[in-house]
């Protein structure tokens, strides 16, 4: 058929494949391999130690703490973010009430959409540094100064409620993205469905729970997976915001921080790779489970 197809195909694929193989596939394969050695990085010699690193991992308190924190974030981050985002998206699309049988958005909904989405374009690290002052443990902190107005004593946010504080920043940054996502989903729901509901005398609250949410279920599930993956990360925030990078005493640590510390800082390559494998297994199990669960009860429109 076409002449010179193969040279062209090879020519176009060789550079992307080479880079991808070198920096993504090879390290992934090596991670599994290195995780079964005692390579410390200090010497070029290392031995195969089988599952010893994984045994060590199971005995590591910090790892259990980190896993607990991931489970906490895995539940709270999607629930809070999705609830807030659905609520705001609904207000933006339909908070204006009914006009001639049509649901309308609130006044200024465009402005709100732009503002809500803004944190999404800011680097997590930058946001983390800013929140360091928001959460400052005395009257110079934005949040504590605000609470002072209500007679609340200074709260030691990072020292006592570190994980909740980090969750707060994650939610702060994520909500806007899902507002835009859900708002787009809502506006694609046919107007007749709402008209019928309004005709039947359904209130906005009823419409929200009985019409909008069931029809958005697919998008919500996508959001759940995305937020779950975010809950497995949290690296940058923990690094810049928490006390002692994951402290105090491991109270805010997460697996990526443990991987970075033991792999890059301490050159404990074998152990760090085992942690990486554990995190990947954790992430993939979560993704598979939530995608499975998502298939079962889908509502179509």
């Amino acid at each position: 058929m076409r002449q010179g197809k193969y040279p062209f195909v090879i020519g176009f694929l060789i550079a992307p494949l080479a880079l991808y193989g070198m920096f993504v596939l090879r390290p992934i394969a090596a991670a599994v391999q290195v995780s079964m050695t005692n390579w410390s990085g200090l010497s070029p010699n290392f031995d195969f130690v089988g599952l010893e690193n994984f045994q060590k991992l199971l005995d590591d308190d910090k790892v259990w703490l980190a896993a607990k924190h991931h489970v906490f974030l895995l539940v709270t981050l999607p629930v809070i973010t999705i609830a807030l985002a659905l609520f705001f998206a609904f207000l933006l699309n339909m908070g204006g009430g009914t006009r001639g049988g049509m649901m309308t958005g609130v006044w200024g909904s465009k402005f709100y959409r732009v503002v809500f989405f803004l944190p999404q374009v800011l680097a997590v690290v930058i946001v983390g540094v800013i929140f360091g002052r928001v959460y400052a443990p005395d009257g110079s902190g934005v949040l504590n100064r605000f609470l002072e107005l209500f007679g609340v004593d200074a709260v030691q946010f990072m020292a006592e409620y570190g994980l909740w504080s980090i969750l707060g920043v994650l939610v702060w940054q994520a909500v806007g993205f899902y507002v835009v996502l859900f708002a787009a989903g809502m506006s694609s729901i046919p107007a007749e469905i709402y008209e019928a509901a309004v005709m039947d005398g359904a209130s906005r609250v009823t419409i929200f729970f009985r019409v909008t949410i069931p029809l958005l279920m697919e998008t919500v599930k996508v959001a759940w997976v995305y937020l779950g993956i975010l809950a497995m990360d949290a690296f940058a925030l923990v690094m810049v915001l928490s006390i002692d990078e994951g402290g105090p005493d491991g109270a805010t640590t997460v697996l990526p921080v443990q991987i970075y510390k033991s792999g890059i800082r301490e050159s404990d390559y074998g152990y760090a790779s085992a942690l990486g494998v554990a995190l990947a297994v954790f992430t993939i199990i979560f993704a598979v489970l939530s995608l499975r669960g998502g298939k079962r009860n889908a509502v179509e429109h």
Partner: protein
């Protein structure tokens, strides 16, 4: 009649509550950013002891100069600009090439290679972090922008290929066939015909990659180690994180906030101008 007006007034209350809820969230988003900008003009005492809601006592722009030169934010900013421009360009070129061939040409191993790229989406970057560090070190690219650029491109490929392959598949065959009959080569067809037709998809993913790579933190912090010489190579995110963690009470906090302002203000300006494209570019992945 009475019933109807009752309904209307309850809708009015709901409407007001909607506005309150939305306005509160808007303030929660905007205030920390305004606070950051104002803190750049304050002095250490005002930041550490003063009222966070107060205005600066005098408008001192000196902190911006100190951040730019002494704290090296200028260097970091330019480094980020150089790295991200080259790596985004490289990502788009290589990603589009691979996606195009995979989407529109039949050959042995096509499905396999496509799957290989997509598989990359499933693995967290932390899995490969340690071996990646070793690979980059073995290649002698540790602490170089070249190394970081190649790594950025490699890690951006799965999503770029995934998205663009879907996009190239939707392009009509007729134009491509006409160009082939006119004697265009495969390469010419790609650059002159298909790339211009794929412009909407390319723009979305370019935005996605620029923002993702600009905000990267774990890769530069792992692959650009410190030291007197290494620090010259640092990117903006890691530079600012370092200023903030290294800073004690006697440090130059106004300069830190000036640095933060320097980092976020361009993003806010670019975002306000291109907000429609940026929103659709970033949400593209979730919609597909």
């Amino acid at each position: 009649m009475a019933n109807k007006s009752e309904k209307r007034s309850s809708a009015g209350v709901l409407n007001k509550l909607s506005h309150v809820a939305l306005a509160v969230w808007a303030i929660l988003i905007i205030y920390p950013l305004i606070f950051t900008f104002l803190a750049a003009f304050k002095n250490n005492t005002e930041i550490f002891i003063g009222n966070p809601f107060a205005l600066p006592s005098h408008w001192d722009f000196g902190s911006f100069g100190r951040a730019w030169t002494e704290a090296k934010v200028g260097t970091y900013f330019l480094n980020s600009l150089i790295v991200v421009s080259i790596s985004t360009f490289g990502t788009m070129l290589l990603g589009a090439m691979a996606a195009y061939v995979l989407a529109r040409y039949e050959f042995i191993g096509n499905r396999f290679i496509y799957f290989l790229f997509i598989a990359g989406l499933a693995f967290p970057v932390y899995l490969a972090l340690t071996p990646l560090y070793i690979v980059v070190q073995e290649l002698g690219l540790l602490g170089t922008h070249t190394g970081l650029i190649l790594v950025y491109i490699a890690y951006s490929l799965p999503f770029t290929v995934f998205f663009l392959a879907a996009f190239f598949k939707t392009l009509p065959n007729a134009v491509a066939e006409a160009a082939m009959i006119d004697g265009a080569s495969h390469t010419k067809l790609f650059f002159r015909v298909m790339m211009p037709m794929a412009k909407p998809g390319l723009i979305s993913i370019t935005i996605f990659n620029i923002i993702g790579q600009w905000n990267q933190y774990v890769l530069p912090v792992s692959l650009l180690p410190g030291g007197a010489e290494g620090q010259e190579k640092w990117l903006l995110t890691q530079g600012i994180a370092n200023i903030s963690t290294a800073a004690g009470y006697q440090a130059d906090w106004p300069a830190l906030f000036a640095a933060l302002s320097i980092a976020i203000i361009p993003m806010i300006i670019v975002y306000t101008i291109f907000q429609r494209q940026i929103q659709s570019g970033l949400t593209a992945g979730a919609v597909k």
